[in-house]
């Protein structure tokens, strides 16, 4: 082997090694909090705050998971989160897709600026909406109801859904709908053809919408009062308000369970989401 070739191989190996080191650091940085939550959740109560903290628990226990329902109405919180996220998802996708379809297919006075307006509304700090949303919910009698939380969640998910779905619809040639109309479909039914073609995009949007709503905390905290409508993030946070004996083990167990749907979704759709972002949508 020539000297030059050996040098090239060495340089290639080092540069590859460098990439792996950077990726490893990034991975540890991202996953360590998660690992810490999990390891805390399986430690016995008296070992959780031990000094120095132990990275790998000496003893594994699932007592924190068993105590979940004793310490807080975990299942109720989980159910509330599921209903609210499901509602935000259904309404957000329906309204958002229709709006996106309209923006993609029709021109109306100001349509060019409308999308810009939608995107800007996404950039406004959500805290600015807290008071108006609370007043609206109060006046409509929606405080401490599912819909009372779904409503502000729509503020978060709609701009994103509209923006993303419009990009997907723009990619679908109009000829499909036109062919459907000539084949005998009404305008509305022809739109469903476009919706069906945009299904991969709709899936990606649904997952990102799900994450937005599932993780949302501020609005849920503001417009809920009782466990009847409080979501899991709110329920977990409320445990921190105890004056004595914050149940760290239970909190981390609940937090870990709260993350599971997100992991599951992430695993199934990572390919599509990555593709969506690579495409620049």
């Amino acid at each position: 082997m020539s000297k030059g070739a050996a040098k090239r191989i060495l340089r290639k190996t080092f540069s590859r090694l460098g990439i792996y080191v950077i990726l490893f650091i990034a991975l540890v940085w991202a996953l360590f909090p998660l690992y810490w939550i999990f390891s805390t959740s399986v430690k016995p109560r008296d070992k959780i705050l031990s000094v120095p903290p132990k990275l790998i628990p000496d003893q594994l226990t699932f007592e924190n998971y068993q105590r979940l329902s004793e310490v807080m109405p975990f299942l109720q919180y989980f159910f509330n989160s599921a209903v609210i996220t499901g509602g935000a998802l259904a309404l957000g996708l329906t309204i958002g897709s229709l709006a996106a379809y309209g923006l993609s297919r029709y021109k109306f006075p100001g349509s060019r600026y409308f999308l810009g307006f939608v995107i800007v509304s996404r950039m406004i700090p959500y805290v600015a909406f807290v008071l108006p949303i609370f007043l609206i919910d109060s006046n409509l009698g929606l405080v401490d109801t599912y819909f009372g939380v779904i409503l502000p969640h729509l503020i978060i998910v709609l701009p994103f859904t509209i923006w993303l779905m419009k990009s997907f619809f723009d990619e679908i040639p109009k000829a499909f709908e036109e062919a459907a109309m000539v084949d005998g479909c009404s305008r509305l039914r022809a739109m469903l053809i476009a919706m069906r073609l945009a299904l991969p995009g709709l899936g990606t949007t649904a997952i990102l919408t799900f994450l937005d709503s599932w993780n949302e905390f501020m609005f849920a905290l503001t417009v809920t009062r009782t466990p009847a409508s409080q979501t899991l993030p709110v329920g977990i946070a409320l445990q921190l308000q105890r004056l004595y004996g914050v149940p760290w083990g239970v909190i981390t167990a609940a937090s870990f369970l709260f993350c599971i749907p997100v992991f599951a979704l992430g695993y199934f759709i990572q390919k599509y989401v990555a593709k969506t972002f690579v495409l620049g949508v």
Binding site: P173, A175, F176, E178, A179, A180, M181, V182, D183, G184, C185, S186, R187, R189, I193, R196, L197, L199
Partner: protein
Amino acid sequence: MWLRRLFWACDKMVDVRLENVNKSFGKVVAVDNLNLKVEDKEFLVLLGPSGCGKTTTLRLIAGLEKPDSGSIYIGERLANNLSPKERNVAMVFQNYALYPYMKVFDNIAFPLRVRNTPKQQIESKVRETANMVGIEGLLERKPRQLSGGQQQRVALARALVREPALFLMDEPLSNLDAKLRVQMRTELKKLHHELGVTTIYVTHDQEEAMTLSDRIAIMNKGLLYQLGSPFDVYERPANLFVAGFVGSPAMNTVEGELAEEDGDYIADFRICSVKLPKEVAETLTSKTLVLGIRPEYILVDEKSPHGIVAKVEVTEPLGRESILLLNAKGVLLTANTRLMKPLNVGDEVWISFVENRLQMFEKQSAHRIDLSRITLTNTPSQSSS
């Protein structure tokens, strides 16, 4: 014939009339006061360059666009306010528009399902139609698993299956390779002959237009320039645009001036002079005329003493025939000729013209001057010798 029995549309009179139809997109006029009648069972081709308004015209007939003004009749019905599905037309799109998530069978069955056709009938009709266009073995495949030609057949089958009153085709062969295009052209013609359904076909390919059509409508800038048989538009082009657009290689055009000599009206085109009848010459608005000579009507002979001498500038041998670029008295002419022996650049040849195939146009209006027979009085080479 079983095909005719299968398609009820054949028994219905379906002509299409467009009366003073206008359509603009913003400031762009796509269709400008179009008047057109497509006869029952006719195969009409809308031909023109990109942006001439031919596709817009087709979309207006399909109901995918609404005219700004004017009337569109399909059969006896005023169709202006009818939705596409109410018009009973079938359309084949340039990119076929096959639903990618459906199998070929479902794609073809789609128009029938939309109309709530009984399941058994769908099954038999889809299979019959697939058989007709030769895709019976592909029914279980998805469109992405098909070649361009097969996709084109599926699109055709989807249009055929529901027995439309009118076929609209928007450059359906433009995505196919040259060989397949020629094959599909023949099949389309055969299919039209068998079914006899009124068909309006859009293309920018003049060869396709000439071979497929009963009549050709040539459009440019939203205007209908000429409507006539393939023979008419080729041999009697209505204006300079049609003359230049139809035919490959394009028609040679040579400008000349009209002058009166001893009561005779003679137009001198440098390569020849043409005598115009007095009654024609007096109606002309300008004295500058354009002589049109199709490349195949230039006769090339090595030794003929008749005609004029021209120098070969470029030769393009095509096998059976050759395209020659000739310089005759400073005028560049393209000739399409069959030669017994090859010519070289720089060779001198004698050329003459087929008199009764020459065309003449007014330069200013670009309109064809209708002369039953053009008379060449002499050629400059003869007069000078």
